[in-house]
Symmetry: C2
Subunit: 343 residues, 2 copies
């Protein structure tokens, strides 16, 4: 039945600055042998996420670095094509795990979870219903301690995480929710579809701090930071006393080739009694049940939407990852590896 080859993407060299296609290698090989008790999975969608840039560097971090010559890793949803006596997974099941960057894999099932295609298209489990969505949920509600009286600013607000943050803030009753994005089209999406009260195109707004002050004359109580750098500086200048900065990511500096310049106004953290708190979603998995319940309700009520940018074929995965840092994605960036029937 399985006569195809398997293809995967490996780290060929460590990038300096923005990754290039040369840093990746597409390798063709055999589909791995299916042992007793194992399942053979055909990946259908894989995720590319900004945090992967950090794993391409050889440094100590909360996840070990990718190794040169080895297959990359990342979120993926696939379909079980064959179950060789596995007690948990049967052929036809859809599974979510960290076995991206390859077309096929075999597994004992450890680390995989079933996902239900009846609730949402399966690729949503890599986006709004998956880690990016939980990142938004845990970050805003637990790390940011959101109150409905808060005025909220979200950077990269049309992205996989930011778009969910905007909608959760609105769904929780926040009246002022402002997002930033890099095109007028994305900004229109923020105000017209995500419920933002204003949007800032950071690429043509002039001084970002002044633009933020214009958009939020009452100041910022919660800043959900996906960007760092100039966005963080602008936010620090507009934070209200006792404001909270949810430090989710700093995509602006991930490709820095020299030590990035930190915000000149960090002392505002003292003078305005601010809290800046970083987090990793893996430490908040206990919120999954509440997240899934709330998201289910919001989706059913038409109060949660998302967009995807999908590139076709594993050979385009490096391009997809690189595109994240250029803002090529509109919403969640995905790579489609096969049709739903596994073909």
């Amino acid at each position: 039945m399985v006569t195809q080859k398997n293809r995967d993407i490996r780290l060929k060299s460590r990038p300096v600055g923005l990754p290039t296609l040369d840093n990746f290698e597409l390798v063709e090989g055999e589909i791995p042998h299916l042992g007793s008790g194992q399942i053979l999975v055909r990946n259908l969608f894989m995720s590319v996420d900004p945090y992967m840039r950090g794993r391409m560097m050889d440094r100590k971090s909360y996840v070990p670095p990718f190794q040169i010559g080895e297959v990359l890793q990342g979120g993926a949803v696939g379909k079980v094509m064959v179950s060789n006596g596995n007690g948990e997974f049967a052929a036809g099941d859809y599974v979510l795990g960290m076995d991206g960057w390859r077309e096929w894999f075999v597994s004992s099932g450890a680390g995989l979870q079933k996902v239900d295609p009846a609730i949402a298209p399966i690729q949503a489990y890599l986006g709004a219903l998956g880690m990016p969505g939980l990142t938004a949920y845990a970050g805003l509600l637990r790390v940011g301690e959101l109150k409905k009286t808060d005025r909220v600013f979200v950077s990269a607000a049309s992205g996989a995480v930011g778009a969910v943050v905007c909608q959760i803030a609105r769904n929780k009753g926040c009246e002022i929710v402002v997002g930033s994005a890099g095109t007028d089209e994305k900004c229109a999406y923020l105000t017209q579809e995500l419920g933002c009260t204003a949007a800032i195109n950071y690429r043509d707004c002039g001084d970002l701090g002044a633009a933020l002050a214009d958009a939020m004359p009452g100041g910022v109580d919660v800043y959900f930071d996906n960007v760092g750098g100039s966005h963080l500086t602008a936010a620090l200048d507009n934070m209200n006393t006792f404001g909270r900065i949810v430090a989710c990511g700093m995509i602006e500096i991930y490709n820095a080739t020299e030590p990035p310049r930190g915000p000149y106004n960090l002392a505002n953290i003292v003078g305005r009694s601010l809290t800046m708190r970083g987090f990793i979603v893996l430490n908040h998995l206990d919120m999954l049940p509440a997240f899934q319940r709330d998201m289910g309700e919001w989706i059913a009520a038409g109060k949660m939407t998302w967009r995807e940018t999908i590139l076709d074929g594993i050979e385009r995965a490096p391009e997809a990852l690189i595109g994240l840092f250029k803002g090529d994605n509109f919403g969640k960036m995905l790579v489609k590896l096969a049709e739903e029937n596994g073909g």
Copy 2:
């Protein structure tokens, strides 16, 4: 009875960079008229504190800026020389308030509180038993959420706030408490008298981050930041996952004449799930009873000590303030304005 003149210090011009004596003006005048129901107070000690540098700038902050030509303000302890029918204060009472930078003042008593010279020398109410002490207490225990298993790093550790932080950490059971200071003599004081397990002379240690790694091979769980700048950068490189940075002050950058460079490694806040939280002691006055109870017990048990650097005469107050930024003080910097008998 009162035949003396009154002298006060006024802001003559706003400093650029480190304040100079030219920024201050000593003015001699009459002792103010004592109205009905008022008290006449002779200040005995006044405090100079790093936060005063911020108030010399014309900018919005948590306290309004000092105005050119007006008498400066700050903590002071004085003695009531005459009470003209004031129901609360009698001649001979010692009072603490914010009427520093002047030798005499009259008051209705509003904003003043009595202090007890039997518990400690009255100037201690400007230091370990006053705002600096409460800053240490609230910052470490509430803002920093100290646990006895924490490894603690304190910058400016021999200063008015830092010295109390070190001792509270030790008194609360922390086994690893490391402080930084600017002379070998101060470092010896940290380890020999304040209970620090190690001390770093930041002026001659070479790379501060490396020195901190040597002093705290298990990393830093709580960093009490009085300095900002290079100290904050060094701490960020040594923080443990879920570590907390208590942002109390950033004296290194208070005199910056151009926008200071923020830490290049601020992204560690994300990757290591750090919390950096600023605070102003005025928002934690509810902790005063607990603070006074604990400090009383620690002092009685010989587990709380402090040092003072005292300059004599109001004319030296500008020099005292400037000296803070050069590390001239060993412990709390004070200016003595009169003898305890008011003479």
